[in-house]
């Protein structure tokens, strides 16, 4: 062993180097976030809880076909409606259920939805869907998907039936109703 090697070994230079690193970090800013008083802001494309809009849905079943685990259950029927004096057949949504406890939040349903803006979306920034009982509380039917009963929205986010839009869950991008009145 060279003299330098011997000296660094005797004076424990390598150990002191390690100690200096941890000693330095002692004074760094801490990375802890005091959840639940403080929450991190999810990014815009964050795939969270579902948003669903029955009025935009055209009942094309694309989302159910795209879902890798078949948790979207859709039932519909045809109805005769009067449009411009002509009788037309319109698809009416009977049942739109999502078994959220099985969902893997892959977002393929949102990608498959053809409407503009999409009728099913995951960019809602909300992830707190914890429940005490999973079979009833984590199975969302049409009404609950829009009212978000049982879901704790991220601060500033409204449920879909109050006008939440995809990619804009807190309404930051849409014009305010007061401004529209003029």
């Amino acid at each position: 062993m060279s003299l330098w090697g011997f000296l660094t070994s005797v004076f424990q230079v390598d150990l002191l180097q390690g100690l200096s690193v941890t000693g330095k970090f002692l004074f760094h800013r801490k990375a802890t976030i005091q959840y639940p008083e403080v929450t991190l802001v999810p990014k815009d494309r964050f795939r969270g809880m579902f948003g669903f809009s029955e009025e935009r849905c055209i009942v094309c079943h694309n989302c159910a076909k795209a879902c890798p685990i078949d948790i979207i259950h859709i039932a519909d029927h045809f109805e005769e409606v009067e449009v411009d004096g002509k009788k037309k057949k319109k698809k009416v949504l009977d049942r739109y259920d999502i078994d959220v406890k099985r969902c893997m939040f892959c977002g393929l349903c949102e990608e498959a939805c053809p409407t503009e803006p999409v009728a099913i979306w995951l960019t809602t920034k909300s992830y707190e869907t914890a429940a005490y009982e999973r079979n009833e509380q984590l199975y969302f039917d049409k009404e609950r998907l829009q009212s978000w009963e049982g879901v704790k929205p991220y601060p500033g986010v409204v449920p879909p039936n109050e006008g939440q839009m995809p990619n804009d869950p807190s309404g930051a991008l849409s014009p305010k109703p007061e401004e529209q009145k003029r």
Binding site: T22, G23, A31, T32
Partner: protein, 350 residues
Amino acid sequence: MGNPWIAFLLVPLVKIIVILLVVILMAAYLSYFERKILAYMQIRIGPNRVGPRGWLQPIADALKLFVKEDIVPSRAEKFVYMIAPALITAPALVVFSVIPFGADTTFFGLLKQPMPPYLTDINIGILFVLGVSSVGVYGVILGGWSSNNKFSLMGGMRSAAQLVSYEVPMGFSVVAVLLMAGSLSMVKIVEAQKQAGVWFVFPGIVAFFIYIVCGVAETNRNPFDLPEAESELVAGFHTEYSGMKWAFYFLAEYANMVLISSVATVLFLGGWLRPFPNAAALAFLDVIPPFIWFAAKVGFFLFCYIWFRGTFPRYRFDQLMALGWKVLLPVSLANLLVVGLGVLLMGGPK
């Protein structure tokens, strides 16, 4: 009734109670500080929910352990199983009776005459410390054996082997200090440092490092904590212990840490003395009371314990033993030789 009884019985009793309370509280709060300091080194905050900034965390832990169910494995050796934790805790606490915490003091004028703030000073102080703290090995071995669990037994054996092997170089490094001090009594060692005008760490720096390394190994702390590491196959001698008995092992480990730190302070860092006690230039430091100096030095060692835990990986057991026997022992013997020669040439112990 009357003065002799007070001096003989009441004062020591009060001192015993105070020292025991302080040591036990220190051990408990050492666990709090360890969690906080380790957390700060790991860029996170430690406990901060229980009480203001987490100060009540050790109390909460103690309460929880107190009310936990007392489980004894069905085929364990019952009597030994019950007393093994006591066998390690009692010596750790008893040794504090000879550690000098400060010079004779009137506690800021509360007392009429100055009184030594330690319990007693026997003339074989350091020998008492080494001897009684070694009794703690019984607690480890008997705890591992009585659990009737081959992993606990292996862990206990390894731990005991580690403790015993590191006693030897520790003893030799202590002897180096004794050569310089010329007495076994703890108070006289501190006074010898005052006479010499310098802490013994400066002439005895090799002995100091050996003592620190052996001290960390003696308390089963990182980087020598293989016998009790979680990620090892052999889970350690206290696997089968839970509740209050486990709390005793925990307490004993932290009390041992405080003990090693206190002894290191007395032997090497001058006990309650300020740096360079005879230098007139630093006389302004005398405004700090002696036991604050003592506490600060002990605190520094405890911080080092926690710092080591946060930084170093663990030694494997055979490497640990090799370090103790093949490296520390020859070095401590050589150091003894050198210190002895030095003392002889300087004209005897100071």
